[in-house]
Symmetry: C2
Subunit: 491 residues, 2 copies
């Protein structure tokens, strides 16, 4: 192995999110080819120059094409490569000569296809190192970053939605899952800051990206889908460095024995024992998710809401049954739903309808109007008796109005001025509930989940992250960030 | 207590789903009043005569109003009552005199408000018994049954969607949750056969309805949300009677101590220990769900697909990571994802791309086209090496086409002719994936879930129900039902 050592974590990673000019090597006139779609997507997203590189074309998508990246004018510091694997070493060499800092290699046909591909991948990596470049991939679906105006993917806009700008960075070892989850996030109304499909991770890995994201102003929380890492020490150090400043939610596939076997066969690298990863995540303050949607659910709560500083949950609900289910979910996860003091119960009783219950959960009942919910929320937030609040409106109920999201935004702003207590919402229902839920998220910066269980899990993540921040001594820093402003779910 | 004994389980319950004529007592001209909305909804849904009853109106919604149900012409065998609680005894007495078989009492102000209300409720029940009528409620949101053309609820069509006809019956002790889940089911594309909001359950209870649903041709599976039952023996007997013929999925609130406390405060009746319910459900073959959405997810699988006859799962996936996560989820739930025999692997290898994996999970890869998935599905179904199959297409992938749902429907029909092996699908993605998923459900009768975990949980339910049917000796009967026809998710 003549490959020189990996550069320090995060070295030159910025080029992938703040490039000055981008060359697309393997840009194609054939609309079915990835090299065509990538060019199309970049032209429609990037605010700087984009250069098609193709020795057999003069014009692609109305843009002047260059026979080689060596001919491309300034500025160009990033190359997206979609040529057959055997040609990749040559074009990467040219990219190095041209002085670019980063390449994204979309092309497959490397380590994932066997020993010959692995040799080819090593050859590419040697060239990367020789020129001091960084590489994402090979065998990846690219980079997507709305705040940077970068859609360096071959996602077909006819087949796939893409989310707007938002607070969540998403790193995925699986391309298919990454694409599907971006599509999901768009439908769900969650925005992302950076998405990277890591592919074979020959060079840039999670540790590099975490090191960058830690200081990235566009990112408030990080969602991480991993199947396995090669350099455990480097990964662990990056986690340790990052979580005191930015929350990380990880989803690790290969939990079961059969799952680990499947993972080994899928990624071609040893997936490692789930228990080892679990221990590392616990020791470094990483929140563990069980499904891709849960990963986003938790990352969203961690991005939008301050951490819980204790495990006491207050619940204010329109539906008694929902209060019961929420309480169940909280207790199962080690959170507490304590009875309120008689003082707080008296205050609530003055607000509520006679048939309502001022205990915890506060059951405002189906006869309630907006103000019963919102005034109860205010009293509970000010009680000092809970560390986080779950609000359960039912938009089917006659008294809960279309103005609820707007009114809630006002109350949340007032609460946030005095208290750093997180609030999450659970709202079960259909299309109208879905629409009003998205309004709550954008207007009030409060995440809304479709089930009590998911909302409570979000509080659980806020609790565990708060505990971690206390332990590493960065709780105050983090709380201040949330006092300064409401973080927006998407722009 | 002068109340005569409860009639046998299921007595006269049919009147709620097959009435000849319906009187709405408390029908109102005020569009804000439940009595107005109920009349509006019944007029727009019911295929037989609907009679408004209101002593202070001649015409309501263009329909002739009657001063009392005693004046209403034939046929009338069901009365929906939405008058103030103190008047309920009188109008129920009149309904009895008029000879109706069933009343649905929407009105609140009974046991749920305290001892006085409880006395009033007992009074109403005495009248019910005196005339041999049955009563749903009081304090409920009504009955909804699309195949019967009955929408005897005060759901505002502006605020709330309602599902079409489908195979799932849904009984809910919580009105708010019931309404919200119907709204959810509409958005989700799941149809229902019967929905009953049980309210205070003064007369008709779960046991009555289960006894009816057991023989109800419109119903293939039953979803049951309960907080507590009073007559445990009766309930248990109804479960025992029903599950050999129709699957039941139950969601029981009040699992934790704090949750049970909240439930007691909410329903006013002792919720009983969760562990007792859990044991009863286990002993009677009831499938236990953890959230309302999961209850419908599982009920849908049980309605549409035959049971698993063993715990071996075959997985066919476009995304390797999804295969790993599905395997994890399966093993955690006690299902197995066995390696295929070398014969089956050889057969798969002949179908698949060279980079694909013929092991279990079969990873057709992101380069696959429809036929790779479908031919693999066929081979796995015919192998005899698994008892259920999870199929994971990714609709973002270029090779998976818009025709996939139609093609899958054909393959499923062929498989079903020879084998009684259940198939479920997991498809993660955005709007397009959502639309194609609904097409798969309607065209192929295969339930589609948005996560591997949810799809695997559905297989788990099919496995446990199959085990139960074997034990009680009705597996063959059940299998035959699924061989005869594909059951439709909605009409």
């Amino acid at each position: 192995m003549t490959i020189v050592a990996k550069p320090p974590r995060g070295y030159k990673v910025e080029v992938f999110f703040k490039p000055k000019g981008i060359a697309v090597i393997g840009a194609s006139r054939d609309p079915e080819k990835p090299g065509h779609v990538i060019l199309y997507n970049l032209r429609n997203s990037f605010n700087g120059p984009v250069y098609p590189v193709n020795p057999r074309a003069d014009v692609i998508l109305g843009m002047k094409a260059y026979p080689s990246i060596l001919e491309v004018p300034d500025p160009v510091d990033l190359a997206v490569i979609a040529v057959p694997a055997p040609i990749v070493p040559r074009v990467v060499e040219e990219a190095g000569k041209r002085g670019v800092d980063g390449v994204i290699v979309i092309s497959g046909g490397f380590r994932e296809v066997g020993p010959e591909g692995a040799a080819l991948e090593r050859k590419v990596l040697e060239i990367i190192r020789k020129y001091g470049m960084r590489m994402i991939g090979p065998n990846c679906i690219g980079v997507y970053s709305p705040p940077a105006g970068i859609n360096a993917t071959f996602f077909d806009p006819q087949r796939q939605g893409l989310p707007g700008s938002g607070p969540i960075a998403f790193l995925s070892q699986s391309g298919a899952l990454g694409a599907a989850m971006l599509d999901w996030a768009e439908m769900r109304g969650i925005g992302v800051s950076r998405f990277v499909s890591l592919g074979n991770k020959a060079d840039v890995d999670e540790a590099d990206l975490l090191t960058y994201l830690k200081k990235d102003d566009a990112t408030q929380s990080i969602a991480l889908y991993i199947e396995g890492v090669e350099d455990g020490k480097r990964f662990r150090e990056a986690l340790e460095d990052t979580t005191p400043h930015k929350p990380i939610v990880a989803l690790k596939a290969g939990r079961s024995e059969a799952g680990a076997r499947a993972a080994a066969s899928h990624t071609g690298s040893l997936a490692g024992s789930y228990r080892v990863y679990e221990a590392v995540f616990r020791q470094t303050g990483v929140i563990l998710a069980n499904t891709p949607a849960e990963m986003f659910d938790l990352a969203m709560a961690l991005a939008l809401q301050p951490p819980m500083q204790g495990n006491r949950v207050g619940i204010v609900t329109v539906g008694g049954g929902s209060g019961v289910m929420a309480t169940d979910a909280a207790e199962v996860l080690g959170l507490r739903v304590p009875e309120f003091s008689s003082t707080t119960q008296s205050k609530l009783r003055r607000i509520l309808l006679p048939i309502a219950s001022p205990r915890n959960p506060v059951d405002v009942t189906g006869s309630a109007v907006d103000e019963h919910l919102l005034e109860s929320l205010r009293v509970v937030a000010e009680s000092g008796e809970v560390d986080g609040i779950l609000l359960i409106p039912y938009f089917n109920v006659r008294g809960i109005s279309e103005q609820f999201p707007e009114k809630l935004a006002k109350v949340i702003t007032e609460i946030r001025r005095k208290h750093t207590i997180p609030v999450v919402v659970s709202a079960t229902g259909g299309r109208r509930t879905w629409g009003l839920s998205r309004l709550i998220e954008t207007m009030a910066g409060v995440p809304v989940y479709t089930s009590e269980a998911a909302a409570v899990k979000a509080l659980w993540a806020l609790y565990h992250y708060g505990k971690w921040l206390k332990r590493v001594g960065t709780l105050e820093e983090h709380i201040k960030k949330h006092q300064v402003r409401l973080i927006e779910i998407r722009h």
